[in-house]
Amino acid sequence: MSTILPLTGNESGAEVMRQIAPDVVAAYPITPQTELMHRFADYVADGKVPTELILVESEHSAMSACVGASAAGARVMTATSSQGMALMWEILYIAAALRLPIVMPLVNRSLSAPINIHCDHSDSMGARDTGWLQLYCENCQEIYDTGIQAMKIAENKDVLLPVMVCYDGFILSHTVERVELLEDHEVKGFIGEHIADHPLLDVDNPVTYGPLDLQDFYFEHKRQEAEAMRNAKPVVLQVAEEYEVLSGRKYGLFEEYFSKDAEYIMVCLGSAAGTAKAAVDELRAAGENVGLLKLRVFRPFPAEELVAALADAKRIAVMDRADGVNSIGGPVFSEIRAALYGRSSAKISNYIYGLGGRDIDIEMMKSVFQDMKDGKYAEEAFYLGVRE
């Protein structure tokens, strides 16, 4: 049995949190995450979820409270956007390195300055090396499905790392779409009971969290963290398989949309993938050999699988909704080009698009495929949709 509702991305995220029913949520409001927490706070106030909701004075405190609660043994969630996550910065690393399976919807919004409340990926992309898993969503259904899977991935004993569920601010967070929901008991059964690893509240077995870890041990603990991120890849796939059995909806590390035999492949993530699919549909109808690879899992970065999926392309265009401001290109581009080094002769170009919520439409997506066909190439990134 499933329920179908018209939900915004944020309502979809709130539904995930209600059904997961974490022991503790600590959060601070920020646009465009606000409605997600607003809706969830209503659920708490109305007694529809037994969560202990801690309202804190900043995102730094929110993530700190999440770390404490998770170490104590609780199942923990929070949510934020943009500046809010920037303020969490030092605690993001601590959550990951203490191996705390916190799940956080991140409603993607550009970073100041100039101040802007609309979508780009500069917030999450800046946090790509914090030790958090990053899963990106194309639509409101994926927000729901990914949120539920995220909890199960995070708490897997071979992983025990926090997970960001990234979805585009306003474009998804405030847009109503058809969302198919599981029953509460199905979600509870799927994620199972949370059994914490050496919780602080187990007073019969006292442990120390966060002791000074100097030259003699720090390196080993970082090596463990790197291994956990490697372990996460098969776990993401295994959880996706189990979720497909439950929901009938299929997920993987990425989605290959007419890209398997395509000469010209675009790589993108987030809601722009929907626009890119429409462009691919139109070009395929016109007989063009084009395809899209929609990246879902950015951390762990599925290098081997991407190489297998992209190596035979004639040309590849990587779309970045965040600029590296590094004179080379965006983060998705840099990593895909690095993965393909020595494994593919395809020229790989980079397009920075959509910063600060700048719209991207089907014609713009088609122009990228046209550029590939025309052999347009530059070592530096192209800026798509900026006024010259």
Partner: protein
């Protein structure tokens, strides 16, 4: 003993055994060492109460020197001593002060005839 590799260690830097600080000797951190003059000491035990490393030996409610295996040389004992009985001596100059291995100053017996 060779330390364990990353595959054997508990994850996340957690320490799973309680009461383990005894295994970590912090005495090598010390730049200054406390020595006590028992002629001045009134055994108020303020140093014992305030020492952050529990490094003051006390027997029969009397200060009996310092546990140099753990004393970091922070100097709180000397700072808080109400009768200035504790002196902080540079480790490199410790031989200039005559004291036993627990840091109790050796005091010359006074000559009963001249003293």
């Amino acid at each position: 003993m060779p330390e364990k590799g990353w595959k054997e260690l508990p994850i996340g830097g957690k320490i799973l055994d309680a009461g383990n600080s005894i295994e970590y000797e912090t005495g090598s951190w010390r730049t200054f060492r406390p020595v006590v003059d028992k002629k001045k000491c009134i055994n108020c035990l303020r140093c014992w109460l305030l020492c952050p490393d529990s490094s003051i030996f006390v027997e029969d409610e009397k200060v009996m020197g310092y546990d140099y295996a753990y004393c970091k040389g922070c100097g709180i004992c000397a700072e808080m001593c109400p009768v200035d009985a504790i002196e902080m001596v540079l480790e490199t100059e410790k031989d200039t002060v005559e004291a036993d291995e627990r840091g109790i100053k050796v005091v010359q017996e006074e000559d009963p005839e001249t003293g």
